[in-house]
Each structure stands twice: as structure tokens, then as C-alpha cells.
Symmetry: C2
């Protein structure tokens, strides 16, 4: 595992944290975007999921679930785990800019949109699932692509349906300010790029994703701009 | 869809809500337990997932993602969706008894444990996934059982590892009071029962699950005690 220290201009001095990350991890992308939006500096530790770093002993001590992200605080306690839990933590501890609406109903909507991605789409296409399908059930590349495209498409359809029917949708998923839902939607859009899915049938998703990627935090933390990312993708 | 009104003794008069539910749905079980713990009365509407009610037009208007739960508030707005989003909403609007710890790190831990179930285990074994594996990839019952057991086991191992190593674990997942993590753990334990997985290799999980099921809310809302549930299970 390789360690790199990130510094200014986005370090506002809230105290260091350490993030276990990998260029391709969409869950970690979500956390990186939130950290950058909130101006929180992190030391990053690379966990190469494609090389199996997550199964090695030193990482098992960090997160025995063998997944990333994991966020180490400076209080000496055990690392935080699971991207949504970390996003909620960051929102509580670094409230500016807010990434949840001020009202309970709005927060429920933002969390619901987020969970469509975090629970019902992303966990079905992660490396451990792809590996199990190919190694245990002998899925070939065509079958694997069918599997991935199906669940990605289901999530995109669900997001589009919820966003397009609700007047609460604005420039972003919920009104005209960024929320956790936009971070999750952006990670879904990155996945669509990885798996070569066209966003055109989902115009509201595509519009909001474009608005996100026009923002510095989303663009600079994009998986393909991270150390170790390939120049071209062959999933 | 069948409608039934639930009444006292657990109605404390916070105003009616309507929950779309199904006996077998573990995501809805989580919401029902929280509603009962907080003494919130709900009207329930049955959505028979095994009969495909979730794909019918009247339910698509409720939740275009075609999944349950969905929670209708009495403010005339669109239904809330996704179990974790609904749990967080209930926690905010009905704060007693609290189901999240008082400190940010504790909340992050409880949410992280919850997401191991809600994101990384449950969505891999739901009816839509089982149906896709059997209908599109011709999985037979043995293959399907292998698939389900693998992801259930991964989640149980992850929960056990996180719970057993952390002194924050108490009578329940986080200290000696119930939290959202216990609700999620209990739903994972119900799934283990559905799929005939032994909890003995996960003694902390098994101990906490037993403590939960000894509580009235968890016992009375158990999937096998709901209308429509079979006397014996043949998944």
C-alpha cells in the first residue's frame, strides 16, 4: 500500500484524517468528493482492489469487511467504514457546505435517492461480485456485462423516475444546491462510463451528472484522474 | 393490495402514516420495528412481492423503483422510499426512544454496521435478484442457494468481526440500548432463518439477535407473524 499526503489549497486545518482509497472504487469516490467539498484534508492510502490488497492482513486490521473506503480519525479509535456512514459523519462534523437539506422530508428524499445507488445498484457490480460470478459460476464476459448492465439500468431508471416526477428536483437532485444524492448520482454516472452505458435515456440523471462534473470537487476526484488509473478503460 | 388499520395499544397519536409492506420483506421489517419501538401507528397496505404487485400501475405511482417499503406521510407529499432513509426520517421526527447514539463517532459506527446489511448483503438476495439469476442465467436451486449463502455468510462474518473486536459493543450492537444497527442485524438474522444458515459461527451476532427477538417490537413484527406468511417456509 502506498501513502501520499495531500495538501493545500483545500486544507482548512480541521485536523488530519486518513482515507483508504483506490482509483476505481466508486464508494471511495463519494467520500473523496465530500471531503473536497468540505475542504477536509486527508492522507490517502492506496488499496489495490484488483490486486487483492483488501484481503491482506494489514488491511483486515483496518476493516475486517475487506472493502473500502475506511476513514481513520485522529482520536485513536477504530476506522469508520461504509461510504454512507462516512458521508453522514462528515456532514455532522463538517457542516459547511451542507450536503443535506434543512427539512426532514428533504433529508429523507436525498437519503432515499442516495440509497438507490449505494444499496440497490453499486453492491451488485463490485469486484467481489464480478469475481464470484466468473469464478464460481463461470460467467463469461457477455454474461457478466448482461448482469452489470441490468442492475445499472434498473438504478438509472429508478433515479430518473424519482427525479423527473418530483418538483423538488432542481439544478441538482434536490433543489439548486449539492447534496449527498448528487454525490451518489455522480458515482452512478461514473459507473455508467466504466460499463459503457448511455445516459441519454435518463435525461434528468444526465443533466445533473453533467452539472456535478462541472464542479471542481467532482472533476478532480474523478476515478480516472486518480493515481494508478489507466489511460483507457478495459473493464 | 389489501389494506388494514392497526390501532392501540401502540398508537400514541403522532398522526397517521401508511406503510406499503409485505410479510417477507426484510427492508419493511426494519421499518415496522422502528415504527413500533417509537409507538407510531401506521395503516398497512400489502404489496405481494411474490405475486408481482410491485410491478402494477397503482404501486408504480407510489414508488417507481418497484420496491418496498414506501411510507406515506399525512402532508400530501410523495411517499418516502428506501428503508435506511425512512429509518433516519423516523429517528428525526420521532426521537424517542433514540435509535442512534448521542455522539458522531457512535452514529457513524451504527450506520456503518447497518449498511453492511442494507447495502452489502440484503440487496444481493432479494426476489428481483433471485428471479434474474433463475430466469436469465438458468440458475438451479443449488446454484441459487450457493449464491445466497455466500453473501449472507460474508455479511455475517463482517458483522461478527466488527462487533467482536470493538469494546463499544454491549448488550446490543452499540452499548446497551437498541439502535438502528440492531434493527438491521435482526433483519439479517431473519434472513439467516429463511435460508437455513446457522448463526453459531457468529456468536456475537447470534447473542444480539436473540436479545432483539426477546423484545416485543422485534417479535411482533417478525416476518413469519405477518398476515399472509406461511406456516412453514420453503423459499
Amino acid at each position: 500500500m502506498h501513502t501520499a499526503r495531500r495538501r493545500a489549497p483545500w486544507h482548512k486545518g480541521e485536523g488530519p484524517v486518513k482515507l483508504y482509497t483506490f482509483w476505481r472504487s466508486l464508494a471511495t469516490y463519494r467520500v473523496r468528493v465530500a471531503l473536497r467539498l468540505k475542504g477536509v484534508a486527508v492522507e490517502t492510502v492506496n488499496v489495490d482492489l484488483l490486486q487483492g490488497d483488501q484481503h491482506r492482513g494489514d488491511y483486515l486490521d483496518v476493516n475486517p469487511q475487506k472493502v473500502i473506503p475506511a476513514l481513520v480519525l485522529d482520536d485513536g479509535g477504530l476506522p469508520l467504514f461504509q461510504s454512507m456512514a462516512i458521508l453522514e459523519y462528515l456532514e455532522e462534523v463538517y457542516p459547511n457546505p451542507p450536503l443535506l437539506p434543512a427539512d426532514a422530508r428533504g433529508r429523507a428524499r436525498v437519503r432515499g435517492l442516495s440509497q438507490i445507488v449505494v444499496s440497490d445498484s453499486h453492491p451488485l457490480s463490485v469486484p467481489r461480485v464480478r469475481n464470484f460470478l466468473t469464478q464460481r459460476f463461470n460467467f463469461d464476459e457477455t454474461q457478466l456485462n448482461t448482469w452489470i448492465a441490468h442492475w445499472q439500468t434498473e438504478a438509472l431508471r429508478a433515479l430518473e423516475a424519482h427525479l423527473s416526477r418530483d418538483p423538488a428536483t432542481g439544478r441538482y437532485c434536490h433543489g439548486d444546491s449539492l447534496t449527498l444524492a448528487d454525490i451518489c448520482l455522480a458515482s452512478q454516472a461514473v459507473a455508467a462510463g466504466f460499463f459503457k452505458l448511455d445516459l441519454a435515456p435518463y435525461p434528468t440523471v444526465a443533466r445533473i451528472a453533467a452539472a456535478c462534473f462541472a464542479q471542481d470537487a467532482f472533476a478532480r476526484e474523478h476515478p480516472l484522474r486518480q493515481p494508478g488509473a489507466p489511460a483507457t478503460l478495459a473493464h
